[in-house]
C-alpha cells in the first residue's frame, strides 16, 4: 500500500523532471533537421531556472484568475499522472480515482483556466489566441469522445491499465483495425492539443498567427515558469498516454520492487525518443494549416476515430 503510493509519487517526479528534457530534445532534433545548430537540450531547464529567479509583474487590472491560473496549469498534468500508467503496468494507488475520460477533463480544466487568464488582462493578443484555442478545443472534443467510446467498446473499460492489457493479449489484437485507426486518430489529437505543426507553429513568434503561445504572453517570472513547465508536462502526459496505453504497452515494470520501477524509466525515455523522431518528421514535412482549414484536419481525425468504431462493429 505505502509502496504503491511511493511508486505513484515516483511517476509524478519522473514526469516533472523529464518533461522539459523531452521538449528540449524535440527542439534540438528539429533544428538538426533544419541544419541549424540550436540550443542545448537542457535549455528548457535553464529557462525555468532563470524565470523562477526573476521578478513577476502582474497587471493591476487583472483579477484573481490571472494569479491563480499558473498553479492550475501546473497541477492538472501532475494530477493526471496519478491516473495513468507511466512506469508500471499494474494499477497504482490512485489509478481507480478516475479513468481516461476524467483525465481528459482534468487536462481540459487547465486549458480552460489558461483561456480565461488570457482574456483577463485585456491584452489584445490574448483573447485572439484564447478564442482560437477554444475553436481547436471544441473541434477536438468529439474526437476525444469517440476515441474513448471506441476504447471502452473494444476493451470493455476506460481505465488505462485495463485498456493497455487488451491490445497485446493475444498479440494479434494489436492488428485490430479499431486499434490502428484509434492510434492514428489519437496522434492527430496530440498534434492539435499540443499545438504542433499542422495546427499551430510552436516556434513562431508572430503574435497574430499564434494559437497556443499567446495565452502566456502576459506572464512573467514565476507565473510564466509555471505555465511553461505545465505546458511541457501536458505534452509529456499526452505522449505517455499515447505510448503506454495505445501504441507500445511494453517495457513497463511488472515487478513490485523499487528497482524494477526505476528500470522502467530508461525504457520510457527510449519510447518517447522514438516518438519525438516521428514528431520531427511530421513537423518538418508539413506546413501550418490556414486557420479555417483546422476544422478539416480535425474532421479527418473525427472520421478516423469513427471509422475505428465502425470497423469494430463490422467485425462482431
Amino acid at each position: 500500500m505505502t509502496r504503491k503510493i511511493i511508486f505513484n509519487l515516483i511517476q509524478v517526479l519522473v514526469v516533472m523532471v523529464f518533461a522539459p528534457l523531452a521538449s528540449g530534445l524535440l527542439a534540438r532534433l528539429k533544428e538538426m533537421v533544419q541544419s541549424k545548430r540550436g540550443p542545448s537540450i537542457f535549455q528548457p531547464y535553464r529557462d525555468l531556472w532563470k524565470l523562477f529567479h526573476k521578478d513577476e509583474i502582474i497587471s493591476e487590472d487583472s483579477s484573481w484568475i490571472f494569479r491563480f491560473t499558473p498553479y492550475i496549469v501546473f497541477v492538472t498534468p501532475v494530477f493526471v499522472t496519478l491516473l495513468i500508467p507511466v512506469l508500471t503496468n499494474y494499477p497504482l494507488f490512485f489509478a481507480f480515482m478516475g479513468d481516461m475520460i476524467a483525465g481528459g477533463f482534468v487536462l481540459a480544466l487547465g486549458g480552460f483556466f489558461a483561456t480565461l487568464a488570457a482574456i483577463d488582462t485585456a491584452n489584445p493578443y490574448g483573447p485572439v489566441g484564447a478564442s482560437r484555442t477554444r475553436m481547436v478545443g471544441f473541434l477536438a472534443e468529439p474526437v476525444f469522445m469517440i476515441v474513448f467510446f471506441t476504447v471502452s467498446f473494444v476493451a470493455g473499460s476506460t481505465i488505462p491499465y485495463i485498456v493497455q492489457e487488451k491490445w497485446v493479449s493475444p498479440l494479434s489484437n494489436f492488428f485490430l483495425p479499431s486499434h490502428v485507426l484509434l492510434v492514428l486518430a489519437f496522434l492527430m489529437l496530440i498534434l492539435a492539443e499540443g499545438g504542433r505543426i499542422p495546427v499551430d507553429n510552436p516556434a513562431g513568434h508572430f503574435e497574430l498567427a499564434m494559437i497556443d503561445e499567446s495565452k502566456s504572453l502576459e506572464y512573467s517570472g514565476r507565473g510564466f515558469a509555471l505555465m511553461k513547465w505545465g505546458g511541457y508536462m501536458k505534452m509529456f502526459v499526452l505522449m505517455c498516454i499515447f505510448l503506454n496505453v495505445l501504441v507500445t504497452p511494453w517495457g513497463m515494470a511488472s515487478g513490485q520492487t523499487v528497482g524494477a520501477v526505476l528500470l522502467a524509466i530508461p525504457y520510457l525515455l527510449f519510447k518517447i525518443f522514438c516518438f519525438l523522431l516521428v514528431l520531427v518528421v511530421i513537423e518538418s514535412s508539413f506546413s501550418k494549416l490556414r486557420l479555417f482549414r483546422i476544422s478539416e484536419f480535425l474532421g479527418a481525425a473525427f472520421i478516423t476515430s469513427v471509422a475505428a468504431m465502425i470497423a469494430q462493429v463490422f467485425l462482431t
Binding site: L176, V180, L181, E296, I303, A307, A311, F314, L315
Partner: protein, 236 residues
C-alpha cells in the same frame, strides 16, 4: 494452419479493410485531383492486400490471381492511361471545387457508411459463417462512398476516380463472398475498367478543348437552358 496464425491473418485482413474504408472517406474529401488519384492507388493496393491475405487464409490460388491483377492494372496502368489521355492542367491545379463543403460531405459519408452496415447484415446472414467478416459491409460502404463521390464532385478526374472506387468496393465485397471467383471474370472486369478510364480520359480532354475547363459540374446550366425553353414552347 494453426489457430493463432489464422486469427492473425483474419485480424490483418480486418485491418486492411479498415484502412480501405479510410481511403474511401479520403476520396470523398480530398481537395487535389492528384491526391485523389494517389488515394485511389493506395485503395487498390489495399484491395490487393486483402485478396492476398484471404488467399493465404483459405489457400485459394484464385484470390492470389485477383491480387496480382489488381496490383498490375489499377496502381500502374490506370494512372499511366490518365496521364496520357487527360489534360495535364488538372494535376497542377491545387484545388478542385465540390458541390458541398468538406465537413458536410464527410458527415453524410459517415451516415452512408453506417447505412452500409444495415445493408450488409441480411447479406451476411445469407452466406456461410466462415465467409462472414468485415469485407462485405466495408465493401458495400466503399460502393456507397464511391457513388457519393460521384454526386458531390464537380471535376472530371475525381468523378472518374469515384466510379473506379465503386468498383473497388464491389470487389472487396466479392472476394469475401465467393472464394473461387473465376480469374476470367476478374480479368474481364479489369480490362473493362481500363477501357472506361481510357474513354473518360479522352472525353475529358475533348471537353477541355471545347470549353476550356474540366469542371464538368458547371456544365449543367449550359445544357439545360435550351431544353427549358423548348419545354416552355411546348406548354404554350
Amino acid at each position: 494452419m494453426s489457430d493463432t496464425t489464422n486469427q492473425l491473418l483474419s485480424n490483418l485482413n480486418a485491418l486492411v479493410t479498415g484502412l480501405f474504408l479510410l481511403t474511401a472517406f479520403g476520396i470523398v474529401a480530398m481537395r487535389q485531383a492528384r491526391g485523389c488519384l494517389n488515394l485511389f492507388i493506395v485503395q487498390s493496393l489495399l484491395l490487393a492486400a486483402s485478396a492476398a491475405l484471404l488467399g493465404l487464409r483459405y489457400q485459394s490460388v484464385d484470390l492470389y490471381g485477383v491480387a496480382l491483377v489488381n496490383v498490375i492494372s489499377k496502381p500502374v496502368v490506370v494512372p499511366w492511361l490518365l496521364r496520357r489521355t487527360s489534360p495535364a492542367e488538372i494535376y497542377t491545379r491545387r484545388e478542385v471545387d465540390q458541390a458541398l463543403n468538406i465537413p458536410t460531405a464527410l458527415l453524410i459519408a459517415l451516415a452512408l457508411a453506417i447505412l452500409a452496415y444495415f445493408l450488409g447484415l441480411p447479406l451476411l446472414k445469407a452466406v456461410a459463417p466462415e465467409f462472414r467478416g468485415p469485407n462485405v459491409p466495408i465493401g458495400i460502404a466503399g460502393l456507397l462512398l464511391g457513388a457519393f463521390t460521384l454526386t458531390v464532385r464537380r471535376e472530371a478526374i475525381p468523378l472518374l476516380i469515384g466510379l473506379l472506387a465503386m468498383e473497388n468496393g464491389a470487389f472487396l465485397c466479392g472476394i469475401a463472398v465467393s472464394r473461387n471467383l473465376p480469374l476470367l471474370i476478374e480479368l474481364a472486369i479489369a480490362t473493362d475498367g481500363l477501357i472506361i478510364v481510357f474513354i473518360m480520359g479522352v472525353l475529358t480532354r475533348t471537353v477541355q478543348k471545347q470549353i476550356g475547363t474540366t469542371a464538368v459540374g458547371e456544365l449543367a446550366a449550359l445544357k439545360e437552358a435550351p431544353v427549358r425553353s423548348a419545354q416552355r414552347e411546348e406548354t404554350k
